[in-house]
């Protein structure tokens, strides 16, 4: 017998013993229940009501079912199958944790690289090929590892409600990510303008033309900042980010709206969708009335 076999022999026997004990418990419980309630054996007296007999029948059926299940678990084959399933669970969970950890590690490495680059020269008035990798990395991780769980098909009576709830969570995350990227982009001109002002002050210092008035430095900075924003706002990266943020905001708002409609259903309140339908009908009716009145007026 190998070490491995030894390792797994004792939980198998333990599980066998436990399932056997469970099966015995349900068998005893069933017998005692029947003894306590003679009607359970099927000999219902005339005084016993229909409702009581149905309840007892259901109890008996349930007990028998548990007894059967417990017995089937106690067979060596079932124990083996159960054990195999239990063995794979740590693999699944460890894979999940490993993937998330790898993604986080990648993200962390990226942050470190970015921090290392903070001291490097940032080129003024240049907003092409912006370093948005940090957001892309997180997005990829999210889309690969988390989003599929939210988009997994739901089952049963409440499947549509659950899907809408998941969709709202998903869209909220995408919206947050887009807003984060957008705000980061709006911050870039601040970063760059400070550097430009620093360089200008250096030049002025070399020329011995430094001003004593702090307001003058502020004026230089605000002018540089304005210029940076103007350059950023025309860059393709910004335009793409703006469109993406607006789209994400729209998607989230719609998803939230659908979820709220579900929540409002039990309340006696009309939804926007219902009101919009009404407004449209009203609009078309008013238009039609106006046309008819105009025609009547002209003819008259």
């Amino acid at each position: 017998m190998t070490v491995k076999d030894n390792e797994w022999s004792w939980p198998s026997s333990l599980l066998n013993a436990w399932t056997q004990a469970t099966a015995d418990f349900w068998a005893t419980a069933s017998q005692e229940w029947s003894a306590g309630f003679p009607g359970l054996s099927g000999n219902f007296g005339p005084a016993a009501g229909d409702a009581q007999s149905r309840t007892q029948e259901q109890w008996q059926a349930a007990l028998k079912m548990w007894q059967t299940i417990s017995s089937s678990f106690s067979s060596p084959e079932a124990t083996e199958a159960l054990l195999k399933g239990m063995q794979t669970w740590p693999e699944i969970s460890s894979k999940l944790i490993r993937t998330i950890w790898e993604g986080y590690s990648h993200l962390h490495q990226h942050w470190l690289r970015k921090l290392g680059r903070l001291g490097e020269t940032t080129e003024a008035y240049k907003f092409e090929n912006l370093d948005q990798e940090i957001f892309k990395t997180w997005q990829e991780l999210y889309q690969k590892e988390i989003q599929p769980y939210l988009q997994a098909p739901q089952l049963g009576l409440t499947r549509f409600y659950q899907e809408r709830a998941n969709d709202a969570v998903d869209k909220f995350h995408l919206y947050q990510a887009a807003v984060g990227e957008f705000i980061h982009m709006l911050h870039l001109p601040m970063e760059k303008s400070v550097r430009v002002v620093y360089e200008k002050i250096e030049e002025l210092a070399k020329e011995g033309q430094l001003s004593e008035d702090f307001k003058e430095y502020y004026n230089i900075w605000i002018k540089v900042l304005e210029g940076h924003y103007m350059t950023l706002f025309k860059s393709p990266d910004y335009l793409q980010c703006l469109a993406q943020t607006l789209n994400a905001a729209n998607e989230f708002k719609m998803a939230r709206h659908r979820l709220l409609i579900d929540m409002l259903q039990p309340l006696p309140l009309p939804t926007n969708r219902e009101m919009d339908e009404l407004y449209k009908e009203l609009y078309l009716l008013k238009k039609r009335v106006r046309e008819l009145e105009q025609n009547t007026g002209e003819k008259g």
Binding site: E202, A205, F233
Partner: protein
């Protein structure tokens, strides 16, 4: 290499001085900010003489004898409010027109609600504006009126003049975008990238706050930082604070824009640039600029970052009339109406231009379509019976306060 000569002592000393001054200013500003402030906007007296749905027509009470017989209708944009034209006494386009002797009307578009989301540009142009023009024509017994449009309201006025040229005597467009194919203004660049369809499907109407956020982002350095630094530096100056608050009131008093109107304006104008090419359609009717045969005065700002000169100046070359005039003023989009310097130039020029063209018209009986709206007739009746009654005056004051 010689070491940098940074006068650290002098800078720190000046900084300390500034901090002291700021503290002093803060103390004084308490008296200003916590005391009574006159920040009311749109205070020039007017009467509401016509109402239809959310839309109202203001008729300003003349300040002197009318010098130009043909009444002037001002059409403001659907973005922000017409109160900007009457921001404060002494800096009011409305007052200046009244002082020149112009009989002045202005449309107040009101605040669209969700039920207005289906209103199209055509509903505004062929509906509200046309009904209002008919009302004024009937009221004055005049076959035509003078029309002046502001920004998007100017674009609407151009569309109206093309569809109903017989009702417009003179057309004045101010900071009016008609050529949208330019990348000089950020707004033109951004509008091409946004998905208007999705926005409107999501929001119903285009939220005013969202538009305002967009306008602030056009120049965050000035509009979100420098402006408030300026306020901080002058917060002990009562007059400055009052003017500043008036402007803040106007800027952030932004109605939503009816959804279908916004969708059409972005798609047909900003994205497809149909208007300037006479290809735009309103409810199946082509907006042919060649049908604009009345005199046209086209005014715009050289430093306008929202509607740059490139977006305005093509219009006079595309219309049917030869009597056109382009005027480029050294100002921006808002400065054209609120700058004291520009105001000295703007209204007198418009007045002179209108006066030259104000030939005596025989007050024919106007053939207008029978008023379709019961509200319209009711409002008209009201205005005839008590145009300047006490009750109305009180109402006007109340509105002015609420509007501010």
């Amino acid at each position: 290499m010689s070491p940098s000569k940074i006068p650290v002592d002098a800078i720190l000393s000046k900084l300390a001085e500034d901090v002291e001054k700021s503290q002093d200013r803060m103390m004084k500003s308490q008296d200003v900010l916590l005391g009574p402030l006159d920040t009311a906007i749109a205070t020039t007296p007017y009467d509401v003489v016509y109402e239809e749905d959310r839309v109202k027509l203001k008729h300003y009470r003349p300040a002197k004898e009318i010098q130009i017989k043909t009444p002037l209708l001002m059409v403001y944009a659907l973005i922000n409010r017409e109160t900007m034209l009457d921001l404060q006494p002494g800096r009011s386009v409305v007052q200046n027109f009244l002082n020149e002797g112009i009989d002045l009307y202005m449309i107040d578009w009101g605040f669209p609600t969700r039920k207005d989301r289906y209103l199209t540009i055509d509903d505004h142009v062929s509906g509200y504006i046309n009904n209002i023009v008919d009302f004024i024509r009937e009221r004055h017994g005049a076959p035509k009126i003078n029309l002046m449009g502001i920004c998007m309201g100017g674009s609407f006025s151009v569309m109206y003049s093309s569809l109903f040229p017989d009702k417009v005597k003179n057309l004045i467009t101010t900071v009016t975008p008609t050529n949208f194919d330019t990348d000089k203004g950020l707004l033109h660049v951004w509008m091409k990238t946004i998905n208007a369809d999705r926005m409107i499907d999501t929001y119903g109407n285009m939220p005013g706050d969202l538009l305002n956020m967009g306008f602030l982002l056009l120049n965050p350095a000035r509009l979100m930082i420098d402006k408030y630094i300026g306020f901080f530096e002058n917060m002990d100056n009562r007059q400055f604070v009052e003017n500043f608050i008036r402007m803040e009131k106007w800027i952030f008093d932004s109605p939503d824009v009816p959804g279908e109107t916004f969708r059409q304006f972005v798609n047909d104008c900003y994205k497809k640039n149909l208007l300037i090419h006479s290809k735009m359609q309103l409810d199946g009717k082509i907006i042919d600029l060649k049908k604009i045969q009345m005199p046209l005065m086209n005014i715009y700002g050289r430093y306008d970052h929202l509607v740059p000169p490139e977006a305005c100046e093509l219009l006079t070359k595309k219309v049917g009339t030869k009597d056109t005039e382009d005027i480029c003023l050294d100002t921006g989009h808002i400065g054209i109406y609120v700058s004291s310097k520009t105001q000295k130039e703007l209204t007198p020029r418009i007045f002179r231009w209108l006066k030259e063209r104000d030939q005596a018209e025989t007050p024919n009986k106007i053939k207008t379509a029978k008023r379709t709206s019961k509200r319209t007739a009711k409002a008209a009746e009201k205005s005839k019976s008590a145009p300047t009654g006490k009750k109305r005056t009180e109402g006007v004051k109340k509105r002015a306060t609420a509007g501010g």
